[in-house]
Subunit: 340 residues, 2 copies
DNA sequence: CATTGCTCCGCAACCGATTGCGTTTTTTAA
DNA sequence: TTAAAAAACGCAATCGGTTGCGGAGCAATG
């Protein structure tokens, strides 16, 4: 627990002022090259470590990005985060991460913490039940940039990065219809969130275009967990008029649902065509492989972080754009392919 | 970009000293309940947010935990992190996360950043090629606790949380042998890391106990990625003397390997019994389900964080213990079950 | 009434780096 | 040789809370 050494200690040792040491350490141009060398060497020698707080306090910035996600342990989220961390780290930014656990209340607390910790920017994917934008308005008020990704607010002029959920859902549903499905069911998450409501709308649109009727019993709102998939399968089997195709809003849930159906004698894709969403590894491992949407999680994380950092460094402003739609495409696999 | 308001502003407004405001905000006992109420109300009203740096600077602590992991986007890591974040968050700690990308060099840089950011504690899972302990010694020197989890240093008296890799590998190999496997192959990661070397040793031990010979060609060292699994399958098919069982050190790799073998006509488990490690979701979705080890990722994260925080709050010292071994057990599934 | 003991609050010195402005020294120009 | 400009560095204020110590006010005790 040795004494922490400061620029003052270095200054004393070298008989220069602390100001000079500070400037030398930052490679300030008004400091003689030779002096810089001496300072840096001495700092090294004395085991100096800069104190970020003092620095942050004085400069009024933290070089830290805050990220709030619904949960860390999903393939999509962790992939996006991995990309963000890389970009941020390369640019000299730290990231602090917190999870809302799908709870709006927790999200509000997280936002507060980020706010008090003075993050330079905030990147968010919303919880299931977030209704209000209030807890993010504080940031805007202080000029702190906020970017949403994946799960964003429907309206408004807030910077957000998304994929075209509507169109993807449309494509996937259309594909199922083309494969001969006549009763296509949709299993999804909380319809309050854009990602799910848009997919739902795309699905209905495609049904309409294909001349297929839609009824209430074809929609199942769940939490999209592994277990939800199994439960959904049970429900389907109990349905008086069973569907012949399912479009699930995520792969994990699609996989378990499909699995249970198979165990109960359903043949995939002939008795039941299945499609998921995300291109999660499980979609490539489930047998048959699951038709899905290739969700560019990595690119999305990369873009969010890059965009944020460019804005912070003044290279480009967030305010000039407010929505970026990433490309994502349908991956047709065996779980839905009836015709050769 | 309104002016940031401080305790001094509140103090002036209320005609009390900044010290009183500070104390009131912390619910200090030497402040009158009524005064506290006034301060808190006023703070709210003025839109005050405390400045953590100033606070950190003064108290010389950050309420921040650093976490360094090889990569974020693995099921095991993200699950452990999710648990850590929850514990930390509940205890009022933030976590900053960085990934070494399996590179020792990057890990050193990450450690440096964490060091300069004055994390109160550091939780680490090592990169593939970390040889040295140096970059963590600085922390010990300053009295900053460091805990390793999963991938730890072999020797030494550093606090670490692990599972019994040796025993698990032993169990799994023994199980394969009991199912009639005579040539059991092992596909693993970098043997420099404890987790893989221990599993390798356990595997060999079990082979020896079962009276099965081991030869060099039964070991395949890979990066355990999805692709590595497929490559491994190709290699196996090219082997003059093929194995009849495989023990893979992670489930993702096991799943893809198994999948490719199946596509090439292998019957699982009869032609080839397969076992993985981790109890990743894919192990439950692959067909047949993959025999694996139930790795308590959540508990491990929870424990690491709890342990760290207890140490920081003085509730219990890290130094009294140096290794915790979590319980983890064999989950026998269809991919290896030949006998009923 | 004097003394003791609380309760409640203010003073002022930190924590460590940053930076505007001024001063000294050196270099260049005239 | 001297004035002007540039280079190099120091002074001291500042960022915003925190906290040891001391003091005022007031009630309780003897």
């Amino acid at each position: 627990m040795a004494k922490e050494i400061t620029i003052y200690d270095i200054a004393k040792e070298l008989s220069v002022s602390a100001a000079t040491v500070s400037r030398a350490l930052q490679d300030h141009r008004a400091i003689n090259a030779n002096t810089k060398r001496r300072v840096i060497t001495k700092a090294e020698e004395m085991g100096y470590r800069s104190n970020q707080f003092a620095s942050n306090l004085r400069r009024r910035k933290t070089n830290t990005l805050g990220v709030i996600v619904p949960r860390l342990n999903s393939h999509f989220v962790s992939t996006a985060l991995a990309a963000m961390e890389k970009i941020a780290s390369d640019a000299g930014y730290n990231i602090i991460i917190s999870q809302s656990m799908e709870s709006g209340a927790k999200e509000i607390m997280n936002a507060k913490t980020m706010f008090e910790n003075r993050v330079d920017g905030l990147i968010v994917s919303l919880a299931y039940d977030t209704d209000s934008f209030e807890h993010f308005e504080k940031f805007a008020g202080k000029g702190i940039p906020v970017i949403f990704f994946d799960r964003v607010f429907d309206g408004g002029d807030i910077a957000s990065i998304v994929i075209d959920n509507f169109r993807n859902a449309c494509d996937i549903t259309k594909h199922l219809a083309e494969q001969g499905c006549r009763r296509i069911m949709h299993i999804t998450g909380n319809l309050k969130r854009n990602v799910y409501s848009e997919r739902f709308n795309g699905y209905k649109q495609a049904l309409a275009e294909a001349g297929l009727p839609w009824t209430n019993d074809l929609l199942l709102e769940t939490d999209l967990s592994e277990k939800a998939g199994a439960d959904a399968a049970e429900k389907i089997m109990a349905m008086p008029q069973k569907p012949d195709g399912i479009f699930v809003a995520n792969d994990i849930c699609a996989a378990t649902c499909m699995h249970v159906l198979q165990q109960n004698g359903f043949l995939i894709p002939n008795d039941m065509a299945v499609a998921g969403f995300n291109n999660d590894p499980v979609s490539r491992i489930a047998e048959p492989n699951i038709t899905t949407i290739n969700y560019p999680a990595h690119q999305m994380g990369e873009l969010a972080a890059t965009y944020m950092i460019n804005h912070l460094t003044g290279a480009a402003s967030i305010h000039t754009t407010n929505k970026i739609i990433l490309k994502s495409e349908l991956l047709i696999r065996a779980s839905s392919l009836r015709k050769k």
